[in-house]
Symmetry: C2
Subunit: 232 residues, 2 copies
DNA sequence: CGTACGTTTGATGCATGCAAGAGATGCTTC
DNA sequence: GAAGCATCTCTTGCATGCATCAAACGTACG
């Protein structure tokens, strides 16, 4: 489901039904083409049975999204953010999600609130069952629900770009959050929802920011060292 | 070295350096191509003495930046945000600049602090002289100095995208801020800088957000009605 | 043996040709 | 005169060819 939301956001961004861009993005985000891997236009063109031109355009878009690096006259490579960029992105994430929670709290009764409530209940179930995969999915949905519930399309856009750049580390985050922070995280989700239900924008923002910050710390701690793609 | 100029239009003589993308962006942001204006690839290609291919790539980038709208098989048009989007962007602006101020406050003594101090002094001078153009420029610089001083490249990136989309309305904001909010704005700038100098991230964030919010309200109030270019 | 340098290679960057679609135009018909 | 329809034009979307350039390779030389 969250895949749908993300895809829709991206399509809004490029206004194109271009499946090629989506396919390439998916391959990069999924790690099928690992960080540092070259993405020769001709190879991709043959791979997807199109000419180099649309491949080129898609790659330029991906560069703009921060997912690949185009070195002029040399080639395109899958990009992995440096540790520093990871920290920067998490700072942004905290701010944007705080804004989203605040905006949602202002909105009064909207269907998103029920969804959040059900999400938390499902998360508790997943935690009890030890179903960490389901739990990770629910966490993802929780955050996206709040962002979407903010009813701010530009915020959605920027958040989507940000999360794409963090996608590679989302796995890490989930891996590290699973054992240690499951219960704490659920409690924090509850606090966020409480503040939203009380129509307390400031409280919701602070709760959200605290939650994101706590999660980020764990992830940033184990962020992999930044390999210099060009160095090889 | 690049003096060998092929007799070209004023556009090219104007921005000699910079990529085609930058030139096009400038023309859109400056309003030279007004909102709703069509941007045919062939026309631009001849205008800049290149082929359609690089023009196409640049236009796709601009679409990704939210500055133009590409209607498939129809054409590319200069995009103007709807009033709603303006409000959304200002909400984001407040959040991002708040984050920037907070981060800067954490950083200790950096050259940006002196720059901010000098900026405020110059602003006071401009205000006394009634030099509204200079004042507007200084306001712009103040905000960018804080964002750059945050030492967060991703924040800079997102903020730049955001401000590009607001560029068209920045003029409006400056126009409306000039008579009414000059002095108040300067005081708010001072408050922001004070909090930063005191290394008070929370205070700096709140001061910044209050300031941005106050400025935004005036601008949003007179934001032009959204002409639906696409007719969709 | 190590270094400097000319050559080769492989990829990109751009120009151009062709086809297809959306919208405008004008003709036909009633 | 108005509505419906075929056509026509202008645009984009994509394929392909050629020039260009960075990096790798191999060779000659100190």
């Amino acid at each position: 489901m969250q895949e749908m939301l993300q895809a829709k956001t991206q399509e809004q961004a490029n206004g194109n039904q271009g499946s090629l861009l989506d396919k390439l993005r998916k391959l990069v985000l999924s790690g099928e083409y690992p960080p540092g891997a070259p993405l020769p236009e001709l190879f991709l063109a043959e791979e997807f049975d199109v000419s180099r031109t649309p491949v080129r355009e898609a790659l330029k878009q991906l560069e703009n999204e921060g997912l690949v690096e185009i070195r002029p006259k040399v080639g395109t490579f899958v990009r992995i953010p440096t540790r520093r960029e990871i920290v920067e992105l998490f700072q942004l994430k905290e701010s944007l999600e705080g804004l989203a929670a605040s905006l949602l709290a202002r909105r009064g009764p909207v269907p998103e609130l029920d969804r959040l409530k059900r999400n938390i209940e499902a998360s508790e179930g997943a935690e009890r069952r030890g179903d960490s995969a389901k739990y990770a999915e629910l966490v993802h949905e929780f955050h996206w629900t709040i962002v979407n519930g903010s009813d701010n399309s530009k915020l959605r856009e920027h958040y989507g770009r940000l999360m794409n750049q963090l996608a590679y580390h989302r796995i890490v985050l989930e891996t590290v959050e699973r054992p240690a922070r499951m219960r704490a995280s659920i409690r924090e989700h509850q606090s966020v929802l409480e503040a939203i239900l009380e129509k307390d924008p400031t409280g919701a923002e602070l709760a959200m920011r605290g939650h994101v910050n706590a999660s980020s710390l764990a992830a940033a701690r184990i962020a992999p060292e930044s390999p210099d793609v060009a160095g090889n």
